[in-house]
């Protein structure tokens, strides 16, 4: 259903002419069930129709950049986990990729594969959350819990991989903290099967359900022109039919060796965004399976003590090890002075990093181009003139994550 249904004809205006009406302004958020994270939307309503939206963020602002500028490059990692906390690994690895590009460092093959696996696992988690929450906030609670159930299974695997389910801190400059657990691939395969099943159920509950379709199709539309203008990337841009995916456009790690497709939509509405996400999950599952098949044995960390902490036994028993260890911990990895803009495909789109180093162990400037920020900035284009209830699915399909928007 589109906004045309609310089209006050001249006769209506005549009827209401003698009534002194004024638009109602309501605050959605910062504490509101549909405002993911804590966003405040000052919504001006004419009846049920949104006349004007003023999005106000900052309630979850954590000073990401300032914090990063005052710690070593390694210490930034826990901060990056908390950007898009649903897909922490993607952020984690994205940041490391940028730092490695700044150093000019090539990481070991196996680490590249594991990074792809981790990033794609978390992409699935992110999309499961987005699609599930879409169901939840439209009222279909079951769909959400099926999505979350699958996500939990994957997070269990992430726990086995990284040691924590949400805030992973798994990557390190030059590779990874540790190798895969030995039985991990089999568990992942099992979880992926279950995920496929559950995601299929979510799809069966939603995709063709007329109520759902009516709620999503034709709502939250953004034109391609506007989407590009606002800097939409990821599924939100692809729902408009623009085939821009960093994994294809500028392949990093091993994406150029993987066989996957990038789903695109056509109309840029909530429904297409939803379908894009559903399809992307399938592609991600495919990629993970390929990675397990092709992954070589070998180290997961570069062997250079100026970058990587020495192996623990070297630290315990040799002066060389303990010195490198101390220097790395005290001063951080000495990233050469320079600047770089590097991007990876985060769950919500292009996750760009503009890093600047002054040659010391601490970043001079860490700018993160969080995809969610730009998408949220265009949200008023998507819902002004629409109904209040359309705000809810729109917020879900853009997968607004407070952490990355407000940094």
């Amino acid at each position: 259903m589109s906004a045309d249904d609310y089209d006050p004809s001249p006769s209506n205006e005549e009827l209401e002419a003698h009534l002194q009406t004024r638009n109602m302004v309501v605050n959605l958020g910062p504490s509101h069930p549909a405002m993911h994270g804590t966003v405040r939307m000052r919504v001006e309503l004419d009846g049920e129709t949104i006349v004007k939206v003023d999005t106000e963020i900052g309630f979850l602002h954590r000073g990401f950049q300032k914090s990063c500028e005052n710690v070593t490059w390694t210490q930034c990692l826990p901060y990056t986990d908390r950007l898009n906390y649903v897909s922490a690994l993607g952020n984690n690895f994205g940041f490391l990729h940028a730092v490695e590009e700044l150093i000019g460092l090539e990481i070991p093959e196996r680490a590249k594969y594991i990074r792809v696996i981790g990033a794609e696992l978390h992409r699935i988690c992110d999309h499961l959350t987005a699609t599930g929450a879409l169901g939840l906030e439209l009222g279909a609670f079951a769909a959400f819990l099926y999505g979350v159930e699958a996500r939990e299974l994957l997070w269990d695997r992430v726990t086995e991989l990284t040691g924590a389910r949400l805030t992973t801190s798994y990557g390190r400059i030059g590779g990874l903290n540790r190798d895969l657990p030995p039985t991990w691939p089999a568990l992942v395969e099992k979880s992926l099967k279950k995920t496929e099943e559950l995601a299929g159920e979510v799809e069966a509950l939603l995709s063709r359900n007329r109520i759902f379709v009516d709620r999503c199709r034709g709502t939250g539309i953004i034109t391609t022109q506007d989407a590009l203008d606002f800097g939409f990337t990821g599924p939100c841009l692809r729902a408009n039919g623009v085939k821009y995916d960093v994994r294809k456009a500028k392949p990093y790690w091993v994406y150029d060796r993987l066989d996957f497709e990038v789903p695109v939509g056509a109309s840029g509405d909530n429904y297409d965004r939803y379908l894009c996400r559903v399809e992307e999950m399938k592609q991600s599952i495919k990629m993970i399976r390929q990675c397990f098949k092709e992954m070589p044995e070998g180290p997961v960390m570069v062997d250079d003590w100026r970058i990587a902490l020495p192996p623990k036994q070297e630290v315990y028993s040799t002066i060389e090890g303990v010195m490198a260890h101390f220097k790395l911990v005290m001063e951080g990895v000495q990233v050469p002075a320079g600047e770089v803009y590097s991007c990876t495909e985060g769950a919500n789109g292009e996750l760009g990093w503009y890093l600047r180093s002054d040659g010391s162990g601490r970043p001079y400037k860490v700018h993160v181009r969080a995809p969610g920020f730009h998408i949220l900035s265009g949200v008023n284009k998507m819902i002004e003139g629409r109904m209040l209830a359309d705000l809810v699915p729109t917020f879900d399909t853009i997968n607004m994550i407070g952490g990355e928007v407000e940094q």
């Binding site: 079951a142 009516d214 039919g241 695109v264 109309s267 429904y271 379908l275």
Partner: protein, 464 residues
């Protein structure tokens, strides 16, 4: 594949047993009342038993069932933390939560916002609760049987304007919600109240139209009594019945068979009246939280319990009108003949139990719908009500009327209904073709510059 036999056996024995005991008590007490007080005194017993015991107990149980059953549908366990003092090792399937809920609601502060209209604010929960509660008065929960020489009706009241009472009282419920929304001095509540009132008023039309077909078919608006809709459904379609040994079988003239469209219409409209998902926009917990956003404690509890009472009442009404009331689809006569004249209350109690079991099943259906379906948008509800349900209802009345005129024995109506049901079933069972709109475009991937596909090629969708 281990099964939980305790649950299976328990649900097969305890629930029917309890229901049976309750109904039997009702009949016997009714008979005693008539015998010792005055004729018709059993209606007083029914008021207490049906409205205060059955409806309230089931509604209260639904507060738990809503959570427990939804958990089952969602691969969860559901509430199981509350324990009774001496049974600390057993969760008792979460039953103690009912008690703790009540305790919590009673002991919480009843908060009244500053600038709220206090009188109306306090009045609204009562206004929301009372009408739904009164609705059940005309729903017959069992056959009329002879106990101790008196005809005992299992209904609180049996006015000859039956359904009109239903419509009348049902439309009163809107006051509670709209007053609650307005008096709270909260914009979200106000939005909810406005949504609720417009929705409830709109759907009364569809609600009425859904039943017109049945009224025409049975030529009555009464529910209970021998000429009421409930009892009429125990009859078979003329000529389409036979005996298998002692058991009578045939095609019963249930409203569901005669009027499937009317049933769906009425069901949908009644759902909208109860404001439950997918029609819960007045509540819309992810959008505006609802008209009762400012309520707390037992005042909120009243809104909540009113909703569950509505669920029970709606099930009762649906069963009385469309699912043969307390009667089985076949074998009613045989069942009646099993019991001697002095034991007719047993026959009544069995059928009463059947009625309540049907109610529980329909309650499950409503809960399943609530937890599975997304919610409509406010304007889509209006569209559905006025642009879809209303024309269908009118067409249904017209076609049904014509069929009844053509064939007063209702057989033609039953055939038409059967066809409708078959079409629906066929459509549901055919496998779903793989579909997603994005599919059409998958494959346009690869390095973007290869395609040279500029962004401006994409559709400027959505701008009509």
């Amino acid at each position: 594949m281990r099964l939980r036999w305790n649950v299976i056996i328990g649900s097969l024995t305890i629930i029917p047993g309890l229901l049976f005991g309750g109904v039997a008590t009702g009949y016997l007490l009714g008979g005693l009342a008539d015998k010792h007080l005055f004729v018709g005194a059993h209606h007083l017993v029914n008021v207490v038993l049906l409205l205060l015991v059955f409806v309230m107990v089931i509604a209260t149980a639904l507060t738990l069932a809503e959570r427990k059953w939804s958990a089952m549908m969602q691969n969860r366990i559901g509430p199981n933390r509350a324990r009774l003092p001496f049974l600390e090792n057993s969760a008792l399937s979460g039953v103690p939560h009912v008690i703790t809920d009540v305790l919590k609601l009673l002991t919480k502060e009843a908060f009244i916002p500053k600038d709220a209209s206090k009188l109306l604010f306090n009045l609204a929960p009562m206004l929301a609760f009372a009408p739904v509660f009164a609705l059940f008065a005309i729903v017959p929960a069992g056959p009329t049987v002879n106990v101790f020489g008196f005809d005992i009706e299992m209904v609180a009241a049996n006015p000859d304007f039956g359904l009109l009472y239903l419509f009348g009282i049902a439309s009163l419920a809107v006051y509670g919600t709209s007053l609650a929304g307005w008096s709270s001095n909260n914009k979200f509540a106000l939005l909810g109240g406005v949504r609720a009132s417009s929705q409830m008023i709109s759907y009364e039309v569809a609600l009425g139209l859904g039943l017109v077909g049945m009224m025409i078919a049975f030529s009555t608006v009464q529910l209970g009594g021998p000429a009421g809709m409930s009892d009429l459904q125990s009859h078979y379609l003329p000529g389409w019945s036979t005996y298998l040994g002692p058991i009578d079988v045939g095609v019963p003239q249930w409203g569901f068979l005669l009027q499937p469209a009317g049933f769906i219409l009425f069901f949908a409209a009644a759902f909208a009246e109860t404001k439950r998902a997918p029609f819960d926009v007045p509540e819309g917990e992810s959008e505006i939280i609802g008209y009762f956003v400012e309520y707390s404690g037992m005042q909120f509890g009243l809104f909540m319990i009113a909703e569950f009472v509505e669920v029970v009442v709606l099930s009762g009404v649906l069963i009385a009108i469309f699912f043969g009331g307390p009667y089985l689809p076949f074998g009613n006569l045989w069942l009646k003949s099993l019991f001697g004249p002095d034991w007719q209350w047993l026959y009544g109690s069995i059928l009463g139990t059947v009625f309540w079991l049907k109610v529980v099943l329909l309650c499950y259906l409503q809960l399943a719908i609530r937890w599975t379906f997304p919610r409509f948008r406010y304007d889509q509800i209006q569209t559905l009500g006025w642009k879809i349900l209303l024309p269908i209802g009118l067409a249904n009345v017209f076609i049904s009327g014509a069929l009844i005129l053509w064939d007063p024995s209702l057989k033609a109506l039953a055939i038409a209904g059967g066809i409708e049901i078959l079409v629906l079933v066929a459509l549901t069972l055919t496998p779903t073709p793989a579909k997603s709109r994005a599919d059409a475009h998958i494959g346009h991937h690869g390095p973007v510059d290869e395609h040279g596909h500029g962004a401006d090629h994409a559709l400027p969708a959505g701008h009509h």
